[in-house]
């Protein structure tokens, strides 16, 4: 056939080299793909889609990232975006000062649950209430990954961590904070959503959430927030391959995914959970 491409692989015989990835996986805004995070970690996936959205919105020469402290901090050496390294929990205030002085830039924070919901809870709440025109991105795995798997404020009931070995118990350790539900109702919040990167459909949905959050900021509509559930098999003490399943079975039923606020529409996590259950019933 005349239209056979020259570079098509022959299929008449077994391949003479193993299968390999094709197409562009590395975002343009990543200097290189090497990192020291654990196998099965969800954070590199979340950072990839974050960088892709910056590029797709044409903001690669206009973005400033304010980075918290956690495993993801390792990516400050490879993210090819202007960055400011903040203290644990303090990124929203740093973003506030930077955005006020550079109102035309795309300003985002990158924080973990230990950073945002433990150490710096009041920072993000005040920043949202003030309606600062910044986007705070939370990588939530319900555990302090960098210290090796300790309980955070988002650890769900029953979850085993190194300082809740029998599982988080409400009586002894209190309840997890659903940070999105604290931020969404505030007057200054324009957009709030909770996504996940445990499977491909959720990666796509979460990427759209980041895009909507950035668009809200670029349109000057106020504070925007995207929470991303990420796998941490090391900190969850599960085999690498079971990370996505554990996220779906243990974290997602509490930190339900979906949009919490988009303009005037405000939805609570209980409604998201009810919608997920209805969808499940429909499938059965």
């Amino acid at each position: 056939m005349s239209d056979v491409r020259d570079d098509a692989l022959p299929t008449l015989a077994p391949p003479n080299e193993p299968a390999r990835k094709v197409g562009r996986i590395k975002p343009a805004l990543l200097l290189h793909e090497d990192h020291d995070l654990c196998p099965g970690c969800g954070e590199p996936v979340a950072i990839r889609i974050l960088l892709e959205v910056i590029e797709e919105l044409g903001q690669e020469r206009n973005a400033i990232g304010i980075i918290g402290i956690g495993c993801y901090t390792a990516f400050t050496s490879t993210m090819d975006v202007d960055l400011v390294q903040a203290l644990h929990g303090r990124a929203p205030s740093v973003a506030t000062g930077a955005k006020r002085m550079r109102p035309d830039t795309l300003m985002f924070t990158l924080q973990g649950d230990g950073d945002m919901v433990n150490e710096g809870l009041q920072e993000v709440i005040h920043t949202a209430a003030r309606g600062e025109n910044v986007t705070c991105v939370l990588l939530n795995n319900g555990v302090f990954g960098e210290t090796g798997g300790h309980m955070t404020s988002t650890t769900v009931l029953g979850q085993r961590t190194k300082n809740s070995l029998e599982g988080r118990d409400a009586g002894r350790h209190g309840h997890p904070i659903l940070i999105g539900d604290l931020l969404a109702p505030l007057g200054g919040t324009a957009y709030a959503a909770r996504g996940s990167v445990h499977d491909a459909p959720n990666v796509v949905k979460t990427k759209n959430m980041i895009r909507r959050a950035f668009e809200a900021q670029l349109e000057g509509r106020g504070f925007s927030f995207v929470e991303i559930l990420t796998m941490c098999p090391t900190g969850w003490f599960v085999p690498t391959a079971e990370g996505p399943g554990y996220l779906d079975d243990v974290l997602a039923p509490v930190h339900a995914t979906g949009e919490l606020k988009n303009g005037e529409r405000l939805v609570g996590t209980p409604q998201l959970l009810e919608a997920a259950r209805a969808e499940e019933r429909g499938r059965r």
Partner: protein, 356 residues
Amino acid sequence: MKPRLMEGSEAIAEAALAAGCRFFAGYPMTPFTELLEAFARKLPEAGGVCINAESEIEAIGMAWGALATGARAATGSTGQGIALMQESLSEITRAELPLVLFHMARGQGDYFQATRGGGHGDYRQVVFAPIDVREAVELTQVAFDLAERWRNPVQIHGDFLLAHTAEAVEIAPLEFDPLPPRDWAVDGSLGGSGRSRNINPIGMEKGAKGIDPDSFWKRLQAKHDALAAETARAESEFTEDAEVVVVAFGSLARFARHAVRALRAEGVRVGYLRPITLWPFPAEAVASAAEGARRVAVLEQNAGQMIDDVRLAVLGRAPVVAIGGISSDEAGFGIGPILDPADVRHRIASSLGDPR
């Protein structure tokens, strides 16, 4: 420009604006509150931003962000609020950002906090202790220049009297040598270029694997050693033939200087030395003033803090005695009975072994 009668808080804010400060964030606390009020009034008129931060920790975080974009920015508080800022202060020093910090202290009990700091790790900050509003106007402008020149935080250490005393001052913008370009600041423009920036306190380099704390900290130490060698300032009077040299700083030094001048006029061989910088401590000036003196008398309004630095500077050349002490008003704002010319004169005269 004619001198105007202004409270210290207002004059300092105007001096900061004259020095190009365009961002301020703070949380109210006596006696710092009026400085925040002055910035809140004046900065928007100058096209700047003043944020009434929800806490001191958030205030310094906001200043951090503004500084990272290359803006001249400041924050401030009182001892307790400055205590809350310590983690950020030490990190901002390591991130080499030019913060100016206004500390309106309650008395002089925060000398250790200002000169040693309560933050983690090895870090140093220049601390100016102005004696009056006129000097505060000058040093505020010097602080912004020095902070940017060295890319290191500088503190203006005042107190209730400085913040609230009205004096006739002229806010004349000072001229400084040209500064290097602010090519370290982030504006987002280098994203995707392979040369994007990362303003960070750990010496993290883009593209590098891991960090090198050892060489990073040693480089900062060398900078702080040079800063110490070049920025110490002191004022002295009558120290050449003084039997007793009085060492005092800030508002209390104004009383000491007055008393020493009065005693000199009566023929008493007493001298006066005032550290203008608390860090770097003007050790050489103190040492040479102590040469030949019978006694060095430290007048400070606390349980004895600067006296440690004086002893280290004097190094046994003369006995060092404390003639100050804790002296508080009913509210604990640092305006105690020691702030009285007769009281100070009596303390100095007593240190001569000749009460009068």
